[in-house]
Assembly symmetry: C2
Homo-oligomer: 449 residues x 2
């Protein structure tokens, strides 16, 4: 049932652009959902994509533009006149329009806003631009349906019909007092089931969740998820209703946040994508590699310090990548679980219990892995004492790595630092050095070199 | 503005349970949102939590139960009678009720369903249990508002008032033919703005996105996100409208999926949480550690093969953890970016271009890191030729690791295997072995031992 953007369709579109078959092109594309138009655009080159944007109604292209990758959208907008951009903005919801304007160079942004015919719309966009990105103010849209508590249901329905024209999805109807202060909400369902003469003040729900313009985006997402809200009203510092955040924006926000954490765990420090430039990717990746390099050089130093063991126990040195790998893996596992637990607010109980738990976990894993190492040593013809030494030091390294992986994020979190930075290369690198140092110290203790 | 569950409140609740102050307890808790009740319950011990569940109205507790961790909910339900569980289910939406029943032991599940008074509700739950988890059928709820195309707007509003009683959020009104086949949809907005005598067939939107009962959950999430849908109707194999999936379920689904990928990248193979048992955590973590162990033992083998170099170039062996770390880090970075790109369907362009890009990326990083190694060698008093050897072999290792990290996920994806399994320990371990092998081979070529 789903529409598929096929290679044939793309080729047909490219051909029609070449021969300027505008009528046929419009015929074909008018039938297609804006999200699919966006998919087609992203398969075209810049000139062809711009051609389509100029050809179709801005009602459709404004929505397709919002679905494109930011970079590509910016390049298309570069090819449009100030007037053409203003026409696109005219059709967008205020939150999308504000995002687009924020991407434009300052002087063009001003010209574009001045070109917008609907003055209220232009003012709303300008207002939204004053809020910080990633706050409720920066995420919200001005489009919403609001009624005054003094109205009747009938008057309310009348007024709503008017307002609903500009609102894609109604969700809730917000109730304000005469000054515009948020008082409560009304569901469409309540409105459907109430008699027409009733006053809103008698039927509205005075309890309503709301956030402030400067509430952090993450907090907005948390509240909306916790209370299963599909939209949340936003008030300014005087309690005046100024906008609302809807769940579709939150879905994008939650996805972006998850991707950022994932990248952080993989040692990528900025929000980059596979198709970004080599330079952008290098900037996001190289710092973590340099950190890893210093970690590795640290291990070189440590081993230089144990050089005297080389003559008698050269095999110890063959095991260093294994020890580093185990320390790294265990550390990453522990930190990933704790970081997720902290994010979902489910890390409960005393620190002492968690300590006991991590130690039992590491003991089980460490002993299992130790037995495997001893078996390997047996078949590889290693001295039994030597195999035991490896197994026991590995066990200690695993325990310490699990504790570091668990408690570094907890401590960071307690100090108000995002624990996600303690995953990935950070934990791996510190556990590498620490693991190798511990490994040689314990081996020295047992073997006495 | 947000309600906060404080330690004082928890203590007060615990105290009131102890002295059986039911009236006061009800007074306090009735004021509190079900999501906050859930938060309170999760802070209590099993007996106290069960006490609260039995005390409050099932209208509230049924929703609070759904917000709890699965394990804890199961343990509370173990303490309830069949009749009490049935009362909770009575108040739940069908999708939640089916999820709860699925968690119950088979014989109890049947008894509980038999106890449900609303026969239609019981039948709906039974129907939902027949679908696979993680398909549209398994995710959907039976609650929805549907009207027939032959009705008038007035009749439709009347019928909707009746149906809306059971539906938490209306979203869209679905239009079916006489047999119940999905024909289209109608927005509440359209209904508000149409004259009461109009027939539905004249105002409904015949184009409607829908999914099949056996569409995969991931595909449902993709469609809903792409087309910005807040609910999507589900049809059976005959095209009959059987349910709908709403965005709040999808938000949970998207979050779970992101968490699974994150855990996979960290080397955790099952969906576990910080508070799961030691045994569950071990089962999810140990397999990857064993994989890492085999990788490490592989490195031991390789180094044993290069033992003859030990006499002259012992420092080579000190660098093995560094080489393994760099190979692992680069591989994880490359694979993380590609896996995300594949998931978001933005990996475009030819494989050859991607190859060139990864090679240029690795060259930039590798040369920078190589210069740092040579500087380190200079201050550490290493031979210049030796430092160069390390730097050049490290550069080759980085290039190969980046290529493996990039192309293994792409190949897996082409073969229909989830590329996410190729992140984390899998890439790290194979790059560790391969990197150390490459390192010694190149060193041997240059230094000639």
């Amino acid at each position: 049932m789903q529409f598929q953007v096929t290679t044939e369709l793309i080729e047909q579109v490219q051909h029609l652009i070449q021969i300027e078959g505008d009528v046929r092109l419009r015929q074909i594309l008018d039938e297609i959902h804006f999200a699919d138009i966006a998919e087609i655009l992203s398969e075209l080159n810049l000139a062809d994509a711009t051609y389509i944007i100029k050809l179709l109604d801005s009602e459709k292209t404004s929505e397709a533009l919002m679905e494109l990758e930011e970079d590509f959208r910016e390049r298309i907008l570069d090819n449009l006149s100030v007037k053409e951009i203003a026409e696109e903005l005219e059709e967008m919801d205020t939150d999308d329009a504000a995002d687009v304007v924020a991407e434009l160079p300052d002087e063009i942004a001003e010209e574009v806003i001045a070109e917008i015919e609907d003055e209220k719309h232009a003012e709303d966009i300008k207002e939204l631009l004053t809020y910080e990105e990633d706050t409720a103010g920066g995420l919200m849209a001005k489009e919403l349906v609001k009624v005054k508590e003094t109205w009747t249901v009938a008057g309310c329905v009348r007024e709503m019909r008017r307002q609903a024209e500009n609102v894609t999805r109604v969700h809730s109807i917000y109730v304000t007092d005469k000054e515009g202060k948020l008082k409560g909400r009304l569901s469409l369902k309540d409105l459907l089931t109430a008699s027409t003469k009733t006053h809103i003040s008698e039927v509205y729900i005075p309890k309503v969740d709301y956030v402030n313009v400067d509430t952090e985006g993450e907090e907005v997402a948390r509240i909306m998820q916790k209370y299963d809200l599909e939209a949340i009203p936003v008030v300014d510092h005087d309690g005046l209703l100024v906008g609302r955040v809807t769940i579709d924006d939150m879905v994008d926000f939650i996805k972006d946040e998850a991707e950022k954490d994932y990248q952080l765990a993989a040692g990528i420090s900025q929000d980059v994508e596979a198709d970004d430039s080599v330079w952008e990717l290098t900037r996001a990746r190289l710092p973590w590699l340099i950190l890893g390099l210093f970690g590795g050089l640290g291990s070189v130093f440590i081993m230089e310090g144990y050089e005297e063991a080389l003559a008698k126990y050269k095999e110890l040195f063959f095991f260093t990548p294994l020890i580093a790998a185990m320390a790294g893996n265990v550390g990453v596992q522990s930190s990933a679980i704790i970081v997720q637990g902290l994010a979902n607010d489910i890390v409960k109980g005393s620190l002492f219990n968690r300590l006991l738990k991590e130690i039992s976990l590491s003991l089980i894993s460490g002993i299992t892995l130790g037995i495997l190492v001893i078996l390997f040593g047996f078949f590889d013809g290693m001295d039994l004492i030597f195999s035991f030494t490896i197994a026991i030091s590995m066990l200690c390294v695993i325990i310490v790595a699990a504790l570091v992986g668990t408690f570094v994020p907890i401590i960071l979190d307690k100090r108000g630092i995002d624990p996600a930075i303690a995953t990935g290369p950070f934990i791996t690198t510190s556990n590498d050095i620490f693991g190798i140092f511990l490994f040689f110290s314990i081996a020295k203790l047992i073997l006495g070199f």
